[in-house]
Symmetry: C2
Subunit: 341 residues, 2 copies
């Protein structure tokens, strides 16, 4: 690997500067992506390996990030499990038949991932070939809890109250669904590793909707299964948005790194995780709208506060679609130009 900064930071090695990449760097803010978006619909872009490869590599070529992340979507998993999803204009992900009963859960399948998600593995192989070991490639999946949220709610939500209601009214059915998603996700991520991914990130986008106790019951125990099944094969990063309250337990797992959002200070994140595990984050995506000198100052200060080692510079959530490219570039450059005091 020509640039292995990202993999070295995941191992906790001493580095000259932190690696940098941005969540949702592929398929959101670059003008070349937006041009592609006019021509092909969302799932066509995900399911056509040539398009997924092209989109994945764009931010490596155009912004110079230290890692690529495969262009795909967390909802390919419920789709493969027999829960249909489409992208509705103005709504986002939408399912015409969300899960509402234990009968529905029984009908959900644990698919052969090579059969139903072979297009993802194709895209990984093609991307690895195109990347030619310039930077590592990250594969990803949603956490089982986050996939349950969409599968039950049937669309995005501010509160995911229907998903939570399902868990609290029908906990057995919920756990049965979570286990099926977990089993599928483990098989899927193993196959991603076999296909050439260099690291895996689990996105627990909606873990922060749960109380600390419910988080352990409905989210963390399933993420822990995924980590335990994968960590010998490939480094695993877990990003739990809003999950500051669980960082102490997460830090005791075999995860190689933990993602944190911008509502926690670097000092609190280090304190809650015990100071030994690599952390990833946590620049507020909206702060990329600040004037460029302010972005540079805040990005540098972020590294000063996390420390340059055991740290992967990133945003605290996905980059926003309307961020000016030069602002994202200023963020990346500020990290790449970082010099310790």
């Amino acid at each position: 690997m020509k640039n292995d900064l990202f993999l070295r930071a995941l191992k906790g090695e001493t580095v000259e500067r932190p690696p940098v990449w941005m969540m949702r760097q592929a398929g959101r803010f670059l003008p070349d992506f937006r041009a592609l978006k006019e021509k092909y619909d969302f799932f066509t872009r995900c399911q056509t390996p040539e398009l997924a490869t092209e989109i994945t590599i764009m931010p490596v070529n155009q912004v110079g990030v230290d890692a690529a992340i495969l262009f795909s979507d967390i909802l390919v998993i419920p789709q493969a499990m027999g829960i249909p999803f489409e992208m509705k204009p103005g709504i986002g992900p939408w399912s015409e038949s969300p899960i509402t009963s234990s009968n529905d859960v029984q009908k959900v399948i644990v698919p052969d991932v090579n059969e139903s998600l072979g297009y993802v593995m194709e895209a990984i192989k093609m991307t690895k070939n195109e990347l030619d070991d310039r930077v590592p490639l990250i594969g990803f999946a949603g956490s089982p809890w986050t996939i349950l949220c969409y599968s039950v709610q049937g669309q995005g939500s501010k509160t995911f109250d229907q998903a939570k209601r399902f868990c609290f009214e029908q906990p057995q059915a919920a756990h049965s669904l979570l286990q099926k998603i977990t089993d599928t996700t483990i098989a899927y991520l193993k196959e991603k590793a076999n296909s050439g991914a260099n690291a895996i990130q689990v996105f627990d986008s909606w873990g922060g909707m749960l109380s600390p106790e419910d988080y352990q019951e409905f989210s963390w125990q399933y993420i822990a299964q995924i980590i335990n099944a994968l960590h010998d094969i490939i480094p695993v990063i877990v990003f739990g948005k809003g999950c500051w309250f669980a960082l102490d337990k997460m830090a005791k797992s075999k995860a190689s790194a933990l993602g944190v959002d911008w509502t926690i200070t670097p000092e609190m994140a280090r304190a809650f995780t015990g100071g030994n595990i690599t952390l990833q984050g946590n620049f507020d995506p909206s702060r990329l709208f600040s004037p460029i000198p302010e972005i540079e100052r805040l990005a540098t200060e972020m590294v000063d506060r996390f420390g340059k080692d055991k740290f992967i510079a990133n945003l605290g959530h996905g980059i926003l679609p309307n961020v000016p490219v030069e602002n994202a570039q200023a963020f990346v450059n500020a990290i790449k130009n970082y010099k310790s005091n």
Copy 2:
């Protein structure tokens, strides 16, 4: 006051059991309210003192809560300041002319609250009369930051990215708007106290969207102005949803109580606030969908963990509209039947 448990808990006095009320108890889940909703639109209900009074008193009569909270809306403040809002079906609050520039901010007025919000004061007087000192009456306002969120974004949002962009791109204009909202809010809450409200709650619903540093700059400094202007006149409760990271600073203010959501454990909330200030919360509103014995167990455990003193039992956010009345009643009863171990 026949039942002064709530006011005694705000003073930190020793009580036989904690008081209980539920955020958004007025105007959401009761069938009688839903019948009224069919007949009158949202702002008619807010602006007609007879209707506001009827809705405010419903949960006192029907569920037996220990405090009433005036039926109203945080958006009556931007409306009075010249920023129009309507309730759009399927969207919620919506403004046809949100704030986008410093020019827009200059046009925003600081109104005479008695003139433009006299209907609120009428509703307070009428409600006080109807309540006849059975339980105290809470008045409320949104935090200046939360009002800015709606005024700039023009509607609800998962990220309030346009509101944040405005603050980060045009901080001077943002601070000018925040100060105008603060000045209006202080005048408004003073008048509520004069009209008979027994306590005030400031809802910082979107404070948790900000980093700890940005929270101090764009939210807390304005809430602190409100507390400083009010605390000699009336007890002030501050509820910052997702603002766990600021609890240490909030606890050093002159607020009588701090609201917390369900993503923080009682132990952490007590530790972060130093153990002396009254706390209010924090039952997950979705947990009211649990079977009734589970609600009773969790509500009792909540009091065990917070402790019966310096505690006001509540939800961690507003009650959901589709919660069965008997489940809400079970929550209230569990607190009212609480016996220390």
